[in-house]
C-alpha cells in the first residue's frame, strides 16, 4: 500500500524533472544574444566560437539536441565540460563528497538546535527568552551566509586559532579531522536554516498550544515536557517537516557561497568556477542534479507525513 504510494509519487516527479531539464536546456537558446560568443569571451577567434557552438550543439535542431541530451542523461552522462573536456557526471561525482558532508552535517545540527529552540520560545511566549530567540532568528535570517562565514572564520580561526580557516578533510582521514574542518562552515550555512526552522516551529507550536486538546492534556495533570513534546510537537510536526524539506533549497544555494568562503572543494566551488569560465554544461548538470536531490528530499517529506499524522493517507 505504502510502496504503491511511493512509486506513484516517484513517477509524478519525472515530468517535473523533465520540465526542469527542458527549461535549463532551452535557456541557451532563448536568451538574446549569442551564448557561444559570450562563453568564448571578447577576445575569442571565430574558430573558437564555432568550436564552442558545435560542442554545445547550437548548430543543430533544438529538439534533436534535446532528445540526444535526454538519452545521454538516462545513461548517467550529464554533458561535457567546455573548458576541461571532462565528463560532467565525473566531475560531480568527484566533488560530491564534501558538499554532501557539509549539507548533511548542517541539516542534523540545524534540526537538533532549531526545533527545541522553537518549542522553548513557544512555551515561554512573551517572555524575554522568547523575544531574544526570535530576534536571533530574524538576525539569522538577515545576515547573509558568507558574512556569517567570514565572521566565524575571523573570530574562531584567525583570532583564536581554535579551528582551521579553510579546507576539507574526508571522513577517511578520521572523524575528528572531518568534523573540525566542517564545524565553522556548518554553523555559517546553518544560520539561516536554523532561523527558518525555529520560527516555523514556534509558530506551529503556538497554534497547537492554543488548541483544545492541549487544554485537555493539562486538565489530565500531565507534565509540561510530556505536553510539549508528546502532545503538542507531534501535531506541529507537519509544517515543521515541510519547511525542513523546502529549506534544503536554501542549503543548496548557501553551500555555493559557503564553499567559496571556506575553500571546500565541493559542488559549490565547481559551480563557481564554472561561472567564471562560463562553462555552461557544468552549470546545467549541477542544476539538474540538485533539482533531483531537492525533489527526492521533498518526496521523503511527503512520506513522513503519513507517519506523523494519522489523518493523512495516500
Amino acid at each position: 500500500m505504502l510502496l504503491n504510494a511511493i512509486l506513484k509519487r516517484l513517477l509524478a516527479t519525472v515530468p517535473v524533472l523533465l520540465g526542469v531539464a527542458l527549461f535549463v536546456f532551452s535557456l541557451l537558446y532563448i536568451i538574446p544574444g549569442d551564448p557561444a560568443a559570450l562563453i568564448a569571451g571578447d577576445t575569442a577567434t571565430p574558430e573558437e566560437i564555432a568550436r564552442i557552438r558545435s560542442s554545445l550543439g547550437l548548430d543543430r535542431s533544438f529538439w534533436v539536441r534535446f532528445a540526444e541530451w535526454l538519452l545521454q542523461i538516462l545513461h548517467g552522462e550529464l554533458g561535457t565540460s567546455i573548458f576541461s573536456g571532462m565528463s560532467v557526471s565525473h566531475l560531480i561525482g568527484q566533488r560530491l563528497g564534501p558538499t554532501l558532508s557539509l549539507m548533511s552535517l548542517t541539516l542534523v545540527v540545524a534540526i537538533v538546535v532549531a526545533v527545541p529552540m522553537g518549542v522553548l520560545a513557544a512555551w515561554k511566549q512573551g517572555t524575554m527568552l522568547d523575544r531574544l530567540t526570535m530576534m536571533g532568528a530574524v538576525f539569522g535570517f538577515s545576515v547573509p551566509v558568507f558574512v556569517v562565514g567570514y565572521l566565524l572564520a575571523y573570530v574562531f580561526a584567525v583570532e583564536l586559532s581554535w579551528l582551521p580557516v579553510q579546507g576539507y578533510r574526508p571522513l577517511s582521514d578520521g572523524i575528528w579531522e572531518w568534523l573540525r574542518h566542517l564545524i565553522l562552515p556548518s554553523v555559517a550555512l546553518g544560520g539561516i536554516y536554523i532561523a527558518l526552522i525555529a520560527r516555523i516551529t514556534r509558530t506551529a507550536m503556538l497554534e497547537v498550544l492554543s488548541q483544545d486538546y492541549v487544554r485537555t492534556a493539562k486538565a489530565k495533570g500531565l507534565g509540561q515536557m510530556n505536553i510539549l513534546f508528546r502532545h503538542a510537537l507531534k501535531n506541529a510536526a507537519v509544517p515543521v517537516v515541510t519547511v525542513i524539506g523546502i529549506g534544503v533549497a536554501l542549503l543548496i544555494g548557501g553551500a555555493v557561497a559557503t564553499e567559496s568562503v571556506f575553500s571546500i572543494p565541493g559542488l559549490g566551488r565547481l559551480t563557481v568556477d564554472a561561472i567564471l569560465r562560463r562553462d555552461y554544461p557544468i552549470i546545467q548538470g549541477v542544476i539538474l542534479f540538485f533539482s533531483m536531490v531537492y525533489l527526492l528530499v521533498n518526496l521523503v517529506v511527503d512520506m513522513l507525513y503519513v507517519i506523523l499524522d494519522p489523518r493523512i493517507r495516500y
Binding site: 517535473v16 526542469v20 562563453i39 538576525f139 547573509p144 558574512v147 543548496i252 544555494g253 542544476i287 531537492y294
Partner: protein
Amino acid sequence: MNACTTEFQTGGQMPPDLFEAERPRGPIALWVRHHPAIAWGGGLLVLMACIALLAPLITSYDPANMTPMLRGKKPSWAHLFGTDMLGRDVFARVIYGARISLMVGFAVAVIATVMGVAVGIVSGFFRFADTIIMRITDGLMSIPPILLAIALTAISRPSVTNVIIAISIAEMPRMGRLVRGVVLSLRERPYVMAAQAAGTRLPKIILRHILPNTLAPIMVQATYICAAAMITEAILSFIGAGAPTNIPSWGNIISEGRAVWQLRPYLVFIPAVFLSITVLAVNLLGDGLRDALDPRMAKRV
C-alpha cells in the same frame, strides 16, 4: 448545605481590582509600543534609503576613482573606511553600494509581485491554465533560487538589469503560488459567487472583490522577496555572477576584499554590516506587517 457565608464586606461595592492601572501613553508612543517591528524596520529602511539617495552629498569621493598611490590604506579621517586594493575610497563605495542593493531589492519585489499576481489570478480563475502553470511553477521551484539565478546570469552579459530579471524569475513562482491560493479560497466565498451571479464582469470582480483581500499577504510576501533579492544579489556578486565589477555593489566590494581579508578584515566586514542591517530592516518590516495585518494574531483570552 453551604452557600455564600463569606462575602465581601465592603458594603455593596465591587471587590478590588487585581491589576494596577496602566500609565496612559501618547498615541505615537502607543503605536510604536504595539508595532516595534514596523517602527524599527521601517525606520532603518528609510535611513538606508536616505543614505542611498543622498550619496553625493555624504561623500565627495567618486566610488570608481582609482588612486593607485593610496592603495590599501587603513581607515583615517581622510578615508573613513580606508581604501581598497585599487585605491578606491571604501566609504564612497559602500555608500553608493546602498543604491544598488536597494534598487535590486525593490525592483525585484515589484516585478516579482506584479508577475506573480498576474500568474496567480490567471491560475486561480482558469482551470485549464491552472494545471499548466502549476506544473511550470513546480519545476521552477524545484531549482534552488540561487542556482536558477546563476543559470540565467551565466549566459547573459553581466549587468544589474540582468541580475534583477534573473532574481525576479527565481522569486516569482512563490508569489504566484500565494496569490493563487488566496484566489482559490476567495472564489468560493458567497459574495464572489453572488457578484458572478449578478453578472458582474470578471475584471471588475477581480478588482473589487479579490485584489483588496490579497493585499495583505502580498505586501508581506513582497517584503520577504525584497530581502531575499538583496541577499541573492550579494551572493551572486560575491561569486562573480552578479553585477559587473566596476559597479560598487556590496557583494562586489566583499568579493574584492576577499583576497586580503585576513589582513584588512574591515574591507569585508563594513559592507557586510551595511548589507545585514538593510536586510534586517526589511525583514523586520515584513514581520511587523504580517503581525499587524493578520487578524488571527489577536490573542485569545
